[in-house]
C-alpha cells in the first residue's frame, strides 16, 4: 500500500510559455475538473512537490531556474512536459535564444503534447506520471543533480555572422 500515488503534489513552472498551457493547467484546479479530488495540490514549492510540471521551452533566462527547481525537489520525483513547446520547442525551436524542449536540460518522464494541451490530456499525463513515480519509489531511483552544460554554445548566433 503506497501513499505516493494518492497524494501527488505539483509544482508548475512557466518556462517561456505563451500562457496558453498555463491557463489549461489552472483550469484543472477549477470546480469543472477539480484535480484536488485525487489529492493533487499545486504547491508552488519545489521542496514539497513530487511532480514538476513545465510549460514552454528552454531559453537563456529560465534554464538556471528549471535546473534549480529540479535539483531542489526531493526524491522520488517526475517531470511532466506540458504543451508542444515543452516537449520539443514547438514553433519556437528555431529561435536563436531557444534551446529546445525541456528534455534538453532535465530528464522528462511524461510528454503531454498539444497547443494548448487540453485539461483532460494534462490530467492523463499526470496520472501516467503517478505510475512512473511509484516505479521510481520501489526501485529507489536517485535522480541526478543537473548542472548546466549548454550555456556557452550558441552555434546559431555565430552562424548569422555579421557583427563578429
Amino acid at each position: 500500500m503506497t501513499y505516493l500515488a494518492k497524494s501527488p503534489w505539483i509544482i508548475h513552472y512557466d518556462a517561456s510559455s505563451c500562457n496558453g498551457c498555463d491557463i489549461e493547467i489552472l483550469a484543472c484546479l477549477t470546480p469543472m475538473y477539480d484535480v484536488e479530488r485525487f489529492g493533487i495540490i499545486n504547491t508552488g514549492n519545489p521542496k514539497h512537490a513530487d511532480i514538476f510540471v513545465v510549460t514552454g521551452s528552454i531559453n537563456e533566462a529560465n534554464r538556471e531556474v528549471i535546473q534549480n527547481i529540479y535539483n531542489q525537489m526531493p526524491d522520488p520525483k517526475v517531470v511532466v512536459a506540458v504543451g508542444i513547446c515543452a516537449c520539443s520547442g514547438g514553433v519556437f525551436r528555431e529561435c536563436y535564444n531557444v534551446a529546445g524542449g525541456i528534455d534538453k536540460l532535465i530528464p522528462v518522464d511524461v510528454y503531454v503534447p498539444g497547443c494548448a494541451a487540453r485539461p483532460e490530456s494534462i490530467i492523463d499525463g499526470i496520472v501516467t506520471a503517478l505510475g512512473i513515480l511509484e516505479e521510481k519509489r520501489t526501485k529507489n531511483v536517485h535522480s541526478p543533480q543537473v548542472t548546466d552544460n549548454g550555456r556557452a554554445e550558441h552555434p546559431k548566433r555565430h552562424a548569422k555572422g555579421g557583427a563578429e
Binding site: 505516493l4 494518492k6 521542496k47 526524491d75
Partner: protein, 282 residues
Amino acid sequence: MAIVFILVAPVIGGLVAGIDRKITAHMQGRVGPSIFQPFYDVGKLFEKENAVVNETQIFYAVCYIIFMAFTGALFFAGGDLLLVIFALTLAQVFLVLGAFAANSPYSYIGAERELLQIMAYEPMVILTAVGMFVATRSFNVSEIATTTIPVVLLIPGIFLGFLYTLTIKLRKSPFDISTSHHAHQEIVKGVTTEFSGPSLGLIEITHWYETVLLLGLLYLFFGWNPLLAVVAIVVLYLIEILIDNTNARVRWQFAVKSAWLVALIVGVINLAILYFLSGGVP
C-alpha cells in the same frame, strides 16, 4: 488520559482536517478529496527523501511535535491550564526557530509572520486562563472540565474573545497570516518552505495535535454539560470553516491590532464586571 491523547489525537485531528477539506470543497462547488486525504498526504511525506538545508531544522521539527504532544497530554491529564498555555507557546517557538534555521528569505518572512501571529493571540489566550480561574476558582483543567458552574455564561466576553483567537490559531481566513490550508503558492506558506518529506510530515501531525488541543480548550467553556459541549464544538468548527471560505486575508497589522483590541475590550471588561459582581474579591 494523557497516553490516550498522544495515540488518538492525530487520528481525530487528521479526520477533522479531512472533513474540513471536504466541506470546504463542497462550499466551493467542488467534489473535494477523500476525508482520509490528510493521512495519505502525511503517509506520502514519510515516503519522500528528507532534504533539508540545515540539519538543525529536523531537530526543531521534532521538538515542535514533542512539545505539542506534551502540551496536549498535560491538558488532557487535567494539569495546570497556565502551564498548558506556556508549553503551547514554547512548541510554537520551536516552529519559528525551525523556520529561522534555514537561511532562506521565504522561510524568514514565514517565521516573522508566525511570531506576529503568536503575538496576536497570546494576550487573549492568557486572559482565557484567567477567566477560567475567576469563574471556577481553579487553574486545574480536571476541575474546570468537571465543574457544575456554567462557565460560558459567567465569561461570555472571554468566550467571544477566545473564538476570535481560535480563528487565528486554526489558521483560518481572514487571519491566516502565517500558513494557511489553501494558499500553497503564497508567501504565507513561508514557515514550512524549507521543510520537506518526513520533517514536513511531523509538522502536519503537530497541527492535528494542536487542533484537538484547541477543541479541548473549547470544551472547558461547556464543561458542566458534556452533550452541549460536543454540539457546541461541532457547530463552532463548522462556523470556522464558513468564515474561512467567505473571508479574504487581512493584513497582519489588522490581525494583531484587532486581536489585542478584542482581548482588551471583551476580555478585560468581562473580568472587570465579574470582579465588581463578586464584591471586589478577586
